[in-house]
Amino acid sequence: MLLNQFLLLSAALFCIGVYGVLVRRNGVLVLMSIEMILNAVNINLVAFGTFHGIAGQVFALFVIAVAAAEVGVGLAIILLIYRNSRSIDIDQLDELKG
């Protein structure tokens, strides 16, 4: 097993995640795409941890914990957005427009 294969998988996951963040209109799906990006990072960390020392895996655990918290906050925000505007379409959330 080569490190490159993991890195390529991770890069593919990252790109899919970025695509999802940029393109999806549904807020929940955007959140899910962010999770995907985070997991791409996790793969990277674990892969490097396997080849270069245990520290990467510890970081991966931290990222998973933080991602859980982030999803909790993110879902709460989306829930509130829904309550206020009966929609979770991100394109319509442009009150900050200059």
Partner: protein, 760 residues
């Protein structure tokens, strides 16, 4: 007793304290009618202290110790400072009668002259005299007033016989005037103000009298002027009164210029010293240039002319009658007008040397005094106002004093000042009493008459004052006037031979007797009372001062009994010439026998002539008014054109007021004022207007170009740029999260690319 001599400053301090207290608390705590509760006790204490100082001075003179400068504090006099360090032993051979300080004081002059040999002989002769008549020792105390550079100006007291004499006169007259005023000015609307200034007036004069240096003298001199201004204009609501006050003040300013110049000349002449002792020693010992002394004395005579109402600048004095009568008494007897006489007496060596009085027959002082004595007296004949008669009488009598100083009869001048203060105060207060009775009118011709029956006390005291003023034996005026006449040295041994002065004074004496008789006739005889209401004798508060002054007038001559009377009768020597002995200074600061300064003795012929002249004046008045015996002289002005011409001159007061007001003031007013107006309008206003216009134009330019164009342009430009750029940049702010994220990732990708390219 020396405590009184060294602490003489308390005497002027007391009325000054009274002034402050009355001003601060008089009205509020005592009410508008009780300001005298403060003024009278303080002046009474000052009077008692003055008497104590006098007694102390007599003891001090009787019990001499050391030389003439032994009691001069070292800081006060440069002469004492300069000689203080000298070795006193080298003059020890000068004799035991004189102390070291005397030897020191005199040695300066001797060494400077380089004539030690001759002066030692003279010194020896003086010692013989000195055993009889010891040098006086003025008591000088001073403190530092202010320092400029290496100069220390002092302020202090110079107590000698002359100062003590005037302390007594000023406090006595002031005390009587204070008492008299409690009735006379009672109910006045500015009672408190009146008493405050009365106190300040007294205090200023005492300050002036005790002045230790000429600078301090000048301060006192000006203070006296200010107070007289305030009191003459006491009833300023009426225009003539405030005019009179202004006239008194402004006329005095003219003379003050002379005083300032004279004092400055003497300051440099005496080696940069204001000290009176220094100046007198410098002048008397010949250390000062004669020209300097001549210039200084001429300048100071101008000051005397204005302050002491001498001819040419006398015009303010009669107008000063606008003030309350007690103030007139104070001005004429004690505080204001004698200041000039006192100043000449104080700086006598300056005049004696400067005008070369010794051995001469005419000088400026004698001329001014002689002319004033006659011309002032003549004016008194045409006055209807009783106070104006007395005012011109004062002018004339001050002329007597100035003449006496001019002819070298110093003691006679001071003695006349002394006696004149008593009887002139008596006459003025008497005139006040008369006006009190006749509804505040002073017009003796139209509003008085026949008052001798209703006002016996005023009548008798006024009569005594008149006889004293006329110079009838044995009242005070005779003795002092006779001393002056003898002092002219015209008929006997004197300082000089002043025939002109003698003639003028005799004419003056005749006129004095005659116009005073006229006053007595109009006020007390002349048929029935002509004024309003019923006249009545004044209350005891008014009459008692009159009685005291009249009594003093009768006895005061005893202080200076001549050494011999008519027919060579000589009174016991222990009674004679006390005034001369205690008042006249002897020492290096006063002309002595070596300067040809002598004392004229009583001369039977002169005395008889003076009595004859005075009696002639009285008789002429008696014949003219009572007996109507001089019919050809009555209504002379209507009969003779020449007499009318002279009367017109007198009524118009020699046209001096016209000269000052219409000629001088008008001449100044018209062209100079017009020129000043033109200058003001064209030049000054032009400059000011030009400056204003330039300022406006430049202001407009700055506003238009710089403020509006540059500064506002910069500020507005900044704002415009900010707005424009903000408007452009806001398009990037779409509010879409995904767009931001896209940018974010794009930027991250670019950074990563750079990272890889640069590092990898």
């Amino acid at each position: 007793m020396d405590w009184f001599l060294t602490h003489a400053w308390i005497i002027p301090a007391l009325p000054a304290l009274g002034f402050v207290l009355i001003l601060l608390f008089g009205k509020r705590f005592l009410g508008p009618t009780r300001a005298h509760w403060i003024g009278v006790p303080l002046i009474a204490v000052a009077f008692v202290l003055s008497i104590c100082t006098g007694v102390a001075w007599i003891q001090h003179t009787n019990d001499p110790h050391g030389g003439p400068l032994a009691d001069v504090q070292e800081e006060c006099s440069r002469t004492v400072q300069a000689t203080g360090s000298e070795e006193p032993a080298e003059h020890a051979d000068e004799g035991p009668t004189e102390g070291h300080a005397a030897a020191r004081g005199r040695s300066v002059a001797q060494e400077d002259h380089g004539t030690e040999a001759t002066t030692t002989q003279e010194g020896g002769e003086e010692h013989a005299e000195a055993e009889k008549h010891h040098d006086t020792q003025p008591v000088v105390r001073c403190v530092s007033w202010f320092d400029t550079g290496d100069h220390s100006f002092t302020i202090g007291t110079l107590v000698d016989g002359q100062a003590v004499m005037l302390l007594f006169v000023v406090t006595l007259i002031s005390l009587l005037v204070h008492l008299y005023s409690t009735d006379y000015v009672n109910g006045d609307r500015r009672y408190t103000h009146y008493y405050a200034f009365l106190s300040l007036f007294t205090s200023s004069m005492l300050f002036f009298v005790l002045a230790e240096n000429t600078l301090q003298m000048m301060v006192g001199w000006e203070l006296v002027g200010v107070c007289s201004f305030a009191l003459i204009g006491h009833w300023w609501e009426e225009k003539p009164n405030s005019d009179a006050a202004l006239k008194a003040f402004i006329t005095n300013r003219v003379g003050d210029v002379g005083l300032i110049v004279g004092v400055i000349v003497l300051f440099f002449g005496a080696g940069q010293s204001f000290s009176i002792i220094d100046i007198n020693i410098g002048a008397n010992e010949g250390l000062m240039n004669h020209t300097v002394l001549l210039v200084a004395s001429c300048c100071l005579i101008t000051a005397v002319m204005s302050k002491s109402g001498q001819f040419v600048l006398h015009t303010w004095l009669p107008d000063a009658m606008a003030g309350p009568t007690p103030v007139s008494a104070l001005i004429h007897a004690a505080t204001m007008v004698v200041a000039g006489i006192y100043m000449v007496g104080r700086l006598y060596p300056v005049f004696f040397e400067g005008l070369a009085i010794g051995g001469s027959s005419i000088n400026l002082l004698a001329l001014v005094g002689g002319v004033t004595a006659v011309f002032g007296a003549l004016l008194a004949f045409v006055q209807k106002d009783i106070k104006k008669v007395l005012a011109y009488s004062t002018v004339s009598q001050l002329g007597f004093m100035v003449t006496a100083l001019g002819v070298g009869a110093w003691t006679a001048a001071m003695f006349h000042l002394f006696t004149h203060a008593m009887f002139k105060a008596c006459l003025f207060l008497g005139a006040g009493s008369l006006s009190h009775a006749s509804h505040h009118s002073f017009n003796m011709v139209d509003d008085m008459g026949g008052l001798r029956r209703v006002m016996p006390r005023t009548y008798w005291t006024y009569l005594i004052g008149t006889l004293a003023l006329a110079g009838i034996i044995p009242f005070a005026g005779f003795w002092s006037k006779d001393e002056i006449l003898a002092g002219t040295g015209s008929a006997n041994e004197g300082v000089g031979n002043y025939h002109f002065a003698l003639v003028m004074l005799l004419i003056g004496a005749f006129c004095t007797a005659a116009y005073m008789t006229r006053t007595i006739w109009y006020a007390f005889y002349n048929g029935e009372y002509k004024g309003h209401g019923h006249p009545h004798e004044s209350g005891p508060v008014i009459t008692w001062p009159l009685i005291v002054l009249a009594a003093l007038t009768c006895v005061i001559w005893l202080v200076n009994i001549p050494t011999k009377f008519f027919f060579d009768w000589r009174p016991p020597e222990s009674f004679t010439l006390k005034f001369e002995h205690y008042v006249e200074p002897v020492g290096p600061f006063f002309p002595g026998s070596s300067d040809n300064f002598t004392h004229a003795e009583f001369n039977g012929w002169i005395a008889a002539l003076s009595l004859l002249v005075a009696g002639g004046g009285l008789l002429a008045g008696y014949l003219f008014y009572w007996k109507r015996a001089l019919k050809p002289l009555e209504n002379l002005a209507e009969k003779s054109r020449l007499a009318a011409f002279f009367k017109n001159i007198l009524v118009n007061k020699y046209y001096f007021d016209w000269l000052y007001t219409d000629v001088i003031v008008h001449a100044v007013k018209k062209p100079i004022a017009a020129a000043a107006y033109w200058f003001n309008q064209k030049v000054l206003d032009g400059v000011v207007d030009g400056a204003g216009k330039t300022a406006v134009a430049s202001g407009r330019f700055v506003y238009d170009k710089i403020d509006q164009g540059v500064i506002d342009g910069v500020v507005n430009g900044t704002a415009v740029v900010a707005t424009e750029s903000g408007g452009e940049l806001r398009r990037t702010q779409t509010g879409r999260v995904q767009q931001y994220a896209a940018l974010f990732f794009a930027a991250a990708a670019i950074l990563a690319g750079i990272f890889v390219l640069v590092i990898g």
